[in-house]
C-alpha cells in the first residue's frame, strides 16, 4: 500500500475548501482527477482521507496551529490516492472568517520539486520514526526545532528560499496556464531549477 508514486504535472493545482473542523466542502476537478476520489467520496468527509498514514503528527499540528492563528502558511505533505498511490505536494494554506458562515480553510496544492521532496521525505521519516518508537510527539517537536536551528532557518523561510523568494513561490502557486512542454518531462522527477525556469516562462507569457 502506498508504494507507488503518482506523477503530478507542475501546472496542476489541487484546490479544496474545508470548514474549521477539516471537513471537505469543495474540491476542484484536478483534485478528483489526481486523487481518484469522487466528489461523493470526499464532500462531507474529513480531509485526513488523503493524508498519508506516515505524516508526522508534529507537522500536522503545526499546520492546524497556523490555521487557528489565521496565518497564511506553506505546507509540505505526503498524500494518497484512492487506489493506493502517494504523491507529495507543496500547499499554500489560508483561512478566512466569514460572517455567519464561520471559518473556511482554503488549500492550494501543487507539485513539490524533486530535490525538495527528498529532503522532506527524509525529515518526515525521522519525525514519524521518533513519534512512533516510544519517543512521542514532544521529542519529535524538539528534534524539529533543532533541525531548523542547525540550518539557521524555519519551515516557511526555508521553503521560500528554496524557490528563490516569495515572489517566485507565489507565482508558482498561482500559475495555471497549461504548458505542453511540461508533459514531456517525467513529472516525478523535476527539480527546483526546472520549476523556476517554468515560473519565469509563465511570467513572460502573462505579460505578453
Amino acid at each position: 500500500m502506498f508504494e507507488i508514486e503518482k506523477g503530478l504535472e507542475p501546472d496542476i493545482t489541487l484546490v479544496c475548501k474545508l470548514d474549521k473542523n477539516g471537513i471537505i466542502k469543495y474540491i476542484n476537478k484536478s483534485y478528483t482527477d489526481i486523487t481518484g476520489f469522487t466528489e461523493k467520496d470526499l464532500i462531507g468527509q474529513s480531509h485526513e482521507i488523503i493524508q498519508h498514514p506516515k505524516m508526522p503528527k508534529v507537522i500536522l499540528d503545526r499546520g492546524w496551529k497556523g490555521i487557528y492563528e489565521g496565518k497564511q502558511q506553506y505546507f509540505v505533505s505526503k498524500n494518497i490516492t484512492k487506489n493506493g498511490e502517494y504523491f507529495w505536494t507543496i500547499a499554500d494554506i489560508n483561512s478566512k472568517i466569514h460572517e455567519n458562515r464561520g471559518t473556511a480553510i482554503y488549500i492550494r496544492r501543487k507539485y513539490l520539486p524533486n530535490d525538495i521532496k527528498e529532503e522532506f521525505e527524509k525529515l518526515y521519516e525521522v519525525l514519524y520514526g521518533i513519534e512512533t518508537s516510544g519517543g512521542g510527539e514532544e521529542i519529535a517537536k524538539k528534534y524539529l526545532k533543532g533541525y531548523w536551528e542547525e540550518r539557521g532557518t524555519n519551515f516557511d523561510d526555508y521553503i521560500v528560499s528554496k524557490f528563490g523568494g516569495e515572489k517566485n513561490l507565489k507565482t508558482y502557486m498561482t500559475s495555471e496556464v497549461p504548458d505542453k512542454e511540461l508533459f514531456s518531462v517525467d513529472p516525478t522527477d523535476m527539480n527546483i531549477d526546472d520549476i523556476l525556469k517554468l515560473v519565469k516562462k509563465k511570467k513572460k507569457r502573462r505579460f505578453w
Binding site: G129, S133, Y143
Partner: protein, 215 residues
Amino acid sequence: MKRVIRPIPKENEIQLNPYKTIMSKTNQKGIIEYANDYFMEISGYKEWELMGQPHNILRHPDMPKIVFKILWDHLNMAKPIYAIVKNLAKDGSYYWVIADFKTKIDNEGHITHYARRKAIPENVKQKINNIYKNILEIEKTAGLEASEAYLNGLLEDAGLTYEQFILNIMGLNAEQLHDYMSSEISDNSLISGGSAEDAIKKTTKKKGLFGKLFK
C-alpha cells in the same frame, strides 16, 4: 520509553572526516533533543533510537568519570568548555572527538546545552589516551576523588588551567581552536579524506592565521 542497551566495546576506531561537524543539543539533564546527520552517520544510531535518550549512552568505558564531572560542573554554571572524548558507537566501535559546549538559557528559563565535535589529530589521540589511562586506573582503584586530585596535581605541575591543558595538547591557541571548531568548508575537493592536521592547517590558513601548528 524504550531503553537503549549500551553496546559492548570493541577495538575498532571510526575515523572522522575532519571537515565535518557532529552536532547535538541536550536539555539540562543531558537528554538528547537533536543530533545532526553526521552524528547519526558516525554513532550508527537512528534518530528514533537517540532522541529522548541520555547522552551518556555514547560514553566509552575507557573514559575517566572525572572528565564528565568537570564538564557538568561547567555546564551547570552555563560556562563554555572543551573536552576531548572517546565515544562509543552503536556497534561498539570508538571515535575520538574534541567537543565544544555552550549553554543557552531562554526567556522562560529553559536550559539547553549545544555541543559541536570535530576530529582530533593522531598524536593528540595518543597523548590524551595515555593521560586518561592513568587517570582511569587511579579512579578504578581509589575512586573519583582520587582521580580528581590527581588531575588537579597534573595541571598544577604543568602550570595550566584545564582549558590551557586542552589547548596545549591540541597544540593550538584559543583563537585557532575556535576557528577549527567553527570551520565548515563546503569545498568538496577538501572534504575527500585528509587528516585532522591538514584540516586544522587549512581552516586556519583560510582565516589568514599562520600557525606553526603541527611541526
